[in-house]
């Protein structure tokens, strides 16, 4: 039997976890105009995953990222490549960026560029990499605490 995790830690991590993820998404979307971007956003999300690993061990990490980290990596690269190839489709060069400006009620003018999709791909790759490292290196080491044991 493993020692039970600290209740305080569990509550704190679960409180912070989702707001950290939200912040990482904010960084991803805001990156085009203020500090942030897909890389920084992905790292913040990775930090959130570290919290889960510290709090509840590999199982908690698995609950946080049910998908395979390698699938995330692959999806990220595929997205980045697809954005690049889309540049060809619209008759431009590889990675030619496009832009779409929409007037959405309540939100005002929203500017969407293909760069956002590109950045999202970078975000996925970074999250995937962090998750892969944490899962493989953390698997044996961090004692498995918390979570719902049968």
């Amino acid at each position: 039997m493993r020692p039970a995790g600290s209740l305080v830690l569990t509550v704190c991590v679960h409180t912070v976890f989702h707001s950290t993820l939200a912040f990482s998404l904010y960084l991803l979307f805001a990156g085009h105009n203020t500090a942030g971007g897909g890389f920084a956003g992905g790292l913040v999300a990775g930090a959130a995953l570290v919290l889960r690993l510290v709090e509840g061990g590999p199982r908690s990490l698995r609950q946080a990222v049910p998908a395979s980290p390698l699938a995330l990596l692959g999806a990220g690269v595929a997205l980045v490549g697809a954005v690049g190839a889309a540049g060809w489709l619209v008759g431009g060069r590889f990675l030619e960026s496009g832009r779409l400006t929409l007037d959405v009620p309540l939100l005002g003018t929203v500017k969407a560029t293909t760069s956002l999709a590109f950045d999202a791909g970078v975000y996925l790759v970074v999250v995937g990499l962090v998750a892969a490292v944490l899962r493989t290196l953390g698997e044996e080491d961090v004692p498995d605490r918390g979570g719902d044991r049968p």
């Binding site: 203020t34 990596l73 990675l95 760069s115 970078v122 490292v133 698997e139 498995d144």
Partner: protein, 787 residues
């Protein structure tokens, strides 16, 4: 032409991806060469009149790489052979393989790809395109020779063919680069129009010849061709008659008129060709396997072709073109015939076959026509070609031509003898001896009969063949004679030599018992095979030794190598640059600090770095390293680079976590064991690299010669990329390609980490007897679905 090649690729892909196509796969795939034949027939008029069809498509224009295809009259002849024999071989394979064979689609796919590669080779005008197609034929033939991959000799033969021909191909690539550089063009026909001279061009030429000899199985690189008999018969027929081995002959034929005057060319090509012709013919005489007999015969006939083309004389070239066509027709026929015999009678051993001639008359007729053409009996195409060859060599005079003539006559005597041996062994015998052999389907015999008939028709009506052959020879060498083949030249020396050849060959056949004892006594050592084996062994051992030295497994050695390289190359260059610079300009405009925070942070950074270097405990070292990273982030903040600072903080944090996770595997303190790289040398290297980096940072800022890109980026960020954050605009837009590359690197690193750890765990489990956690009762994966 690109469309036709695309059709080959498409049909090959369809056949490969659709294993259930079964019996339909050969017919489907034959559409591609059939389309080529139709297209060639459509283009034949202007091409034979001397107006080549040229198609050019940009490939990598920045590098001068173009997909240039050029169809001239010689290319037309080759295309006819490649597509014609290819289509027949595909149709033939419909009957050759068992109907329910599941991998028929795979076979047809590779054969179609092979045909497409060969087609590209004979049409290519760009040297690199030629090389790419050349190697594609090597790769596809590897897959075809090793098609029956459950047999070890098939796999071994395939590997040998691949190694020999692609090593030759590499030599050829170097040669083509040298030739192209010397000529200043990558176009084959421009190269031939203005052949370069000089040492570089000649070295290039020699390398190209090595490639051509390897591809065309010339002595001493001929070992792979008989071994390649492990391939299914349709492949052998195609490989020997129209594709692959003809590539080397094709290239020599193209190059010879322009380069034959280079000193070493004629002796080298004629010497190798004659040696191949004699060795091949001699060895064909002692084979009992019909397929092996033909394979050695191919080595011999390719040598003949090499001699004729390699001389680079107009008459010899014309004879070579005729022999090329004749050889393709009779060799394909004979292989297809052997395939039928093997399929129906269950053996190819000429000691066991008997009486097949009466039992399978149509097949026997085709075999007789083809073998007679191979032996050079009138009135067949092979006779016309050999007659013209004798005539050309006799008429040229000179020592080399006479030596070549003598060798060719001797080789042809052997050819007559092994042709007779083939027919006698395969088909002779009393009637009824083979009554148990089932008769083949008409479609199975048809391809062989078609090709044999073509050889007869073109022999009886030489004017028909000349329509094709005269322009083809003219495309190679404008001085080639304009009169075509003829059955009767009058009582010429060539006729006398032909008669002598046939008589001597017949004599060899009649006295075959004596020949066999002579061969047994003289038994040539299997030197080539042994040399190949020894070479392979040496290669593997050498590779193991090099790996042992380079991959020492010591992290300090790896790092030390990298850092020493940094010191040796850019470091020395930097030192040289510093010495050459005026002292005042070196550090002009350098200030101590931009703000008081900088020196303070810098001091902390330095202290942390020193601490990390001398720390005894691993955890302490890691934390101090982290402090260095955070300090750098603070410097970024001070300099007003929030993006950089944010990323640095996050990366530092996550690296720290990864470090701590990894540290759990390691002892608490650094151990003082024996290191491959001693402490002193490590200190010296570190100090050197530190000095180098510091000096570089100090000097780089004063070394700017062009305008900074940052200004342009700042201006363009909003209008071009629609971004107010210029760092992000650079990452995802201006330098998006770099980011793409980095993302790929990250992914690769992730895969590497996962596989390394998983593998390490598995090895650990095997060595330590510890079962991996995955199988443990508390396994999260297993219990996840449990309530």
């Amino acid at each position: 032409m690109l469309i036709l090649l695309g059709a080959h690729a498409l049909l090959a892909a369809v056949a490969l991806a659709w294993p259930r196509a079964g019996r339909h796969a050969p017919l489907l795939c034959a559409l591609a060469p059939a389309a080529v034949l139709a297209w060639v027939a459509w283009q034949a008029g202007p091409v034979l009149d001397g107006r080549p069809v040229v198609e050019q498509t940009a490939w990598v224009p920045q590098l001068g790489l173009e997909l240039t295809f050029r169809l001239d009259a010689f290319g037309l002849l080759m295309t006819l052979l490649v597509a014609g024999v290819g289509a027949l071989a595909l149709l033939y394979s419909r009957w050759y393989f068992a109907p329910d064979r599941p991998d028929l689609g795979r076979f047809c796919g590779w054969l179609t790809a092979f045909a497409g590669a060969m087609l590209g080779l004979v049409l290519a005008d760009n040297l690199f395109l030629l090389y790419v197609c050349w190697e594609l034929t090597s790769v596809t033939s590897y897959l075809l020779i090793g098609f029956e991959d459950e047999r070890v000799e098939a796999r071994r033969a395939a590997l040998q063919a691949l190694l020999v021909t692609s090593l030759g191909g590499l030599a050829m690539l170097a040669g083509l680069v040298l030739l192209g550089q010397a000529a200043g063009t990558w176009s084959l026909h421009e190269l031939l129009a203005r052949p370069p001279r000089g040492a570089a061009a000649e070295a290039g030429l020699a390398l190209v010849l090595v490639g051509a000899f390897a591809k065309s199985a010339q002595v001493p690189l001929h070992g792979w061709l008989p071994a390649a008999m492990a391939a299914p018969t349709p492949v052998s027929a195609y490989l020997h008659a129209a594709a692959m081995v003809k590539a080397g002959v094709y290239l020599v034929a193209r190059l010879a008129p322009a380069f034959a005057s280079v000193g070493f060319w004629r002796p080298a090509v004629v010497g190798v060709g004659l040696a191949s012709m004699l060795v091949g013919g001699w060895r064909a005489l002692r084979q009992h396997d019909l397929k092996l007999l033909l394979a050695h015969g191919t080595v011999s006939q390719l040598g003949f072709l090499m001699v004729l083309f390699g001389l680079g004389l107009p008459e010899a070239t014309a004879a070579g073109v005729a022999l090329l066509l004749a050889h393709a027709l009779y060799k394909a026929t004979l292989f297809l015939v052997v395939g039928v015999v093997d399929h129906q009678a269950g053996t190819r051993d000429l000691r066991r076959l008997t009486g097949l001639g009466r039992r399978l008359p149509v097949l026997a007729a085709a075999a007789v026509a083809a073998a007679a053409s191979m032996a050079g009996l009138p009135p067949l195409l092979g006779y016309l070609a050999k007659e013209e060859a004798y005539d050309a060599l006799w008429g040229t005079g000179g020592t080399l031509a006479l030596v070549a003539l003598a060798g060719v006559v001797a080789g042809s005597v052997l050819t007559v003898a092994y042709s007779a041996r083939f027919l006698h062994g395969g088909f002779a015998g009393p009637p009824g001896a083979a009554s148990g052999v089932p008769r083949p389907a008409a479609g199975f015999v048809a391809p062989a009969a078609t090709l044999a008939a073509a050889g007869v028709v073109l022999g009886v009506a030489p004017a028909l063949a000349s329509e094709l052959l005269v322009p083809a020879a003219g495309a190679l060498d404008p001085a080639a004679p304009a009169e075509g083949l003829a059955l009767w030249h009058g009582l010429t020396p060539a006729l006398g030599l032909s008669a002598l050849t046939v008589a001597a060959g017949a004599g060899l056949f009649v006295g075959r018992a004596g020949v066999a004892t002579a061969q047994a006594r003289l038994a040539l050592a299997r030197g080539v095979e042994e040399a190949y084996r020894a070479g392979m062994l040496a290669l593997l051992r050498g590779a193991a030794r090099v790996t042992g030295v380079v991959q020492s497994g010591s992290l300090p050695v790896y790092l030390g190598t990298i850092l020493l390289t940094v010191l040796a190359l850019p470091g020395v260059a930097l030192a040289g640059g510093v010495l050459g610079w005026p002292a005042g300009a070196r550090l002009a405009g350098l200030e101590f600090a931009d703000s008081p925070v900088q020196p303070a942070v810098g001091l902390l950074l330095a202290a942390a770095a020193v601490g990390a270097a001398v720390a005894r405990r691993r955890l302490a070292a890691v934390v101090l390293l982290g402090a260095v990273g955070y300090g750098a982030a603070v410097l970024f903040v001070v300099q007003g680079a929030p993006d950089l600072a944010l990323t640095q903080f996050l990366v530092e944090t996550l690296s720290l976590v990864a470090f701590v996770l990894a540290l759990r595997h390691l002892p608490d303190r650094f151990t003082h064991r024996h290191w491959r790289l001693g402490r002193a040398s490590r200190v010296v290297i570190s100090a050197g690299v530190g000095l180098f980096v510091a000096a570089f940072a100090l000097l780089a800022r004063g070394a700017r010669s062009g305008a900074a890109v940052s200004g342009a980026y700042l201006e363009q960020a909003e209008p071009e990329a629609g971004a107010a954050n210029v760092v992000n605009a650079i990452l995802v837009d201006f330098r998006g390609f770099d980011t793409f590359g980095e993302v790929t690197v990250l992914t690769t690193a992730g895969l590497g980490v996962v596989s390394m750890v998983v593998l390490g765990r598995r090895i650990g489990a095997e060595v330590g007897g510890v079962r991996p956690r995955r199988d443990a009762p508390g396994d999260p994966e297993a219990s996840r679905d449990a309530p």
